[in-house]
């Protein structure tokens, strides 16, 4: 290595180390473990990552749905003050209603949104088994799974959603 190159390398190393120091910032965040994040860690990803232990069937979900969901979403998921959860109307135009069966791309989104946001008046009070059971009930009523299929962290991500392939990433260059 020439003297000139050696100086250049030294300068680059110095620059790199000073950048690293600057990037560290004030470091005022309190270290925390994933276990301590615990109850807040509720993202269910499309590949099943983040789905908790537990399971449920449509038969188990039906009475829970009737008790905790039907007041807003209607009997059998047909819709009331809140939107319909069951039904597969054809998409005929840009303003067509988007339903789980005719539009949603991922079954895990059903579980994720029930777990994080429902019931409206008492979110995040359902057990994981209850969320799996209600998810199974909604998917079965939509004929997206069989009436006796068990939903759990392994089976749920494998449920094929009919509209899954009809999405276009609008700005792929920004990802």
């Amino acid at each position: 290595m020439s003297t000139r190159n050696a100086v250049l390398v030294a300068a680059l190393l110095a620059l790199a180390s000073s950048t690293a120091v600057a990037a560290e910032g004030p470091n005022l965040g309190q270290p925390i473990t994933e276990k301590e994040v615990g109850a807040w860690d509720i993202n269910a990803m499309p590949d099943g990552t983040g789905l908790p232990p537990g399971s449920g069937t449509s038969a188990q979900g039906a009475p829970i749905y009737a008790q905790k969901c039907a007041a807003c979403h209607g009997e059998g998921g047909k819709g009331a003050s809140a939107g319909a959860l069951v039904g597969n109307p054809p998409i005929t135009g840009i303003e067509s209603p988007k339903t789980i069966a005719n539009f949603w791309g991922y079954s895990t989104t059903v579980f994720d949104f029930i777990r994080r946001a429902m019931p409206w008046i008492s979110p995040r009070t359902l057990t994981n088994d209850e969320v799996y059971a209600i998810t199974a009930y909604i998917l079965a009523e939509n004929k997206l799974i069989g009436p006796n299929d068990v939903m759990n962290a392994q089976t749920l991500p494998k449920v094929k959603m009919p509209n899954a392939d009809n999405f276009i990433i609008r700005f792929p260059d920004r990802i």
Binding site: V37, E95, G105, T109, F113, R116, R170, R174, I175
Partner: protein, 444 residues
């Protein structure tokens, strides 16, 4: 001043036309004062009002000491009844609530905090700032927890930028022009100076795994609203914002902290921010895969419509106003683009047959509201006012026919001016003026 810009006659008709139907050169009246000085001297000014001035005298408020200064100033009582947001859910029913900015009653580029649009999907949470926490975890070397107090000690950055709901202007997907004001149609966008901690600083401190490409942001609202964001935006210009126009963020805008993704789809700017999970892929959350994935005419749908593309609309004159006779009016509005600075705004008074360049108010800030102004001498005949914006990257606001061809329109007319038949409308708005001076939303 160049002689060519002097107009001594005082007669609006003598000013150089810049386009059809009375549009004047954008430089004709800007900061010169010449026209109106001349107009007063020749009597044109008084002819605009049609009334002779009475001798001036002191009014009662000038004859006595005024009121005590309040600790927190509110607008004049004359404004408080008049200048407000439109509420879509004033009784707090269990559904989304929208509060829309009254663009037609504002001027300049900054939206006052009390009039900044808000959307909350399950009400505004009452968050104790001392107990609020933000956790960053997932694909990081060391997960960390931040309080408002610790974040307040970090180096801060300010960004003046607009926030726009993906559903703003959506009633314009209607196949017939919905009868709505600029507030009803375009009120789900606003512009503020946001101050906070760069998200990249916090992510660097946690040490992001090279495998990570996304993060999932989540709020402390009852829905725990969540959105997936590419990490590229975090490294670019994302903030954990603590301040809005200099004061702590308003409750409806995410107090005590929100994610700010300058110029990206409003819903992604997660409010009441409490958790960021760094991840390899997106979560495909409810709002990104359902609500804000918009249908296209071919029945496919756009997903991850991050950018609010180049757009402009005239705020005055606009739907619901009545012009008080022929004569001078300033056509003014706002333009903005997620793709950078506004480079040019053209204005038409004849429904797009001819166009004049509008003046852009300095400073023109990227990803921010840009105020445009164009002088107009209305001759009392029917007029259709339009604006069209270009950004510095050459992106142009699409003409309505082109937009509808690509993005579609409804099969039945939209009758609710607060409705959401689709998302991300950025085509041209037309305000029709009839000979009586009434201004209405039209398609042209």
């Amino acid at each position: 001043m160049r002689d060519s810009q002097r107009h001594r006659s005082g007669d609006l008709d003598s000013l150089p036309p810049a386009a059809g139907n009375g549009l004047l050169d954008r430089r004709a009246l800007l900061g010169r004062g010449v026209l109106f000085a001349g107009a007063a001297a020749t009597g044109v000014g008084s002819s605009l009002t049609g009334a002779a001035a009475e001798p001036l005298k002191d009014d009662p408020w000038s004859q006595t000491a005024g009121s005590i200064s309040p600790a927190y100033e509110r607008p004049s009582k004359y404004e408080q009844q008049r200048v407000n947001r439109i509420l879509s859910n004033p009784n707090g029913e269990p559904r989304t609530s929208h509060a829309r900015t009254p663009h037609h009653l504002l001027n300049g580029t900054i939206t006052p905090n009390g009039l900044h649009f808000t959307i909350v999907h399950s009400g505004t949470p009452d968050i104790d700032p001392d107990k609020h926490r933000l956790v960053i975890h997932g694909l990081v070397r060391q997960p960390k927890l931040f309080t408002l107090e610790t974040l307040s000690r970090y180096p801060m950055a300010s960004i003046t930028t607009f926030v726009e709901c993906g559903g703003n202007s959506a009633p314009m997907f209607s196949n017939e022009a919905v009868q709505g004001t600029v507030q009803q149609i375009h009120g789900l966008c606003s512009c503020a100076e946001w101050t906070g901690v760069r998200l990249s600083t916090l992510l660097d401190e946690c040490g992001v795994d090279p495998k990570a490409k996304w993060f999932v942001a989540e709020g402390a609202d009852s829905l725990a609203l969540s959105r997936s964001v590419p990490l590229t935006k975090a490294w670019d210009d994302a903030l954990v914002a603590l301040y809005q126009n200099g004061e702590r963020i308003m409750p409806g805008n995410g107090y005590p902290m929100r994610l700010l993704l300058p110029a990206w789809q409003g819903n992604m700017n997660v409010k009441f921010l409490r958790r960021i999970q760094v991840s390899e892929g997106p979560a495909m959350s409810y709002y990104e895969t359902r609500t804000y994935s918009q249908l296209l005419p071919n029945k496919k749908a756009y997903r991850f419509h991050f950018l609010n593309e180049v757009k402009s609309f005239i705020t005055s004159p606009s739907h619901g106003m009545t012009l008080k006779g022929p004569g001078f009016y300033e056509i003014t509005g706002i333009a903005y683009a997620a793709t950078g600075r506004i480079a040019k705004v053209m204005v038409s008074a004849d429904g797009g047959k001819s166009w004049a360049q509008a003046a852009l108010q300095a400073p023109v800030i990227p990803k921010s509201f840009t105020r445009f102004r164009a002088p107009w001498n209305w001759n009392g005949s029917p007029a259709i006012l339009q604006s069209r914006a270009w950004d510095e990257g050459g992106n142009v606001q699409p003409l309505r026919a082109d937009f509808v061809a690509a993005r579609g329109e409804t099969q039945k007319p939209v009758t609710n001016p607060l409705g959401f038949p689709n998302q991300h409308y950025n085509s041209i708005t037309s305000w029709g003026v009839d000979p009586s001076g009434q201004v209405k939303h039209v398609y042209a």
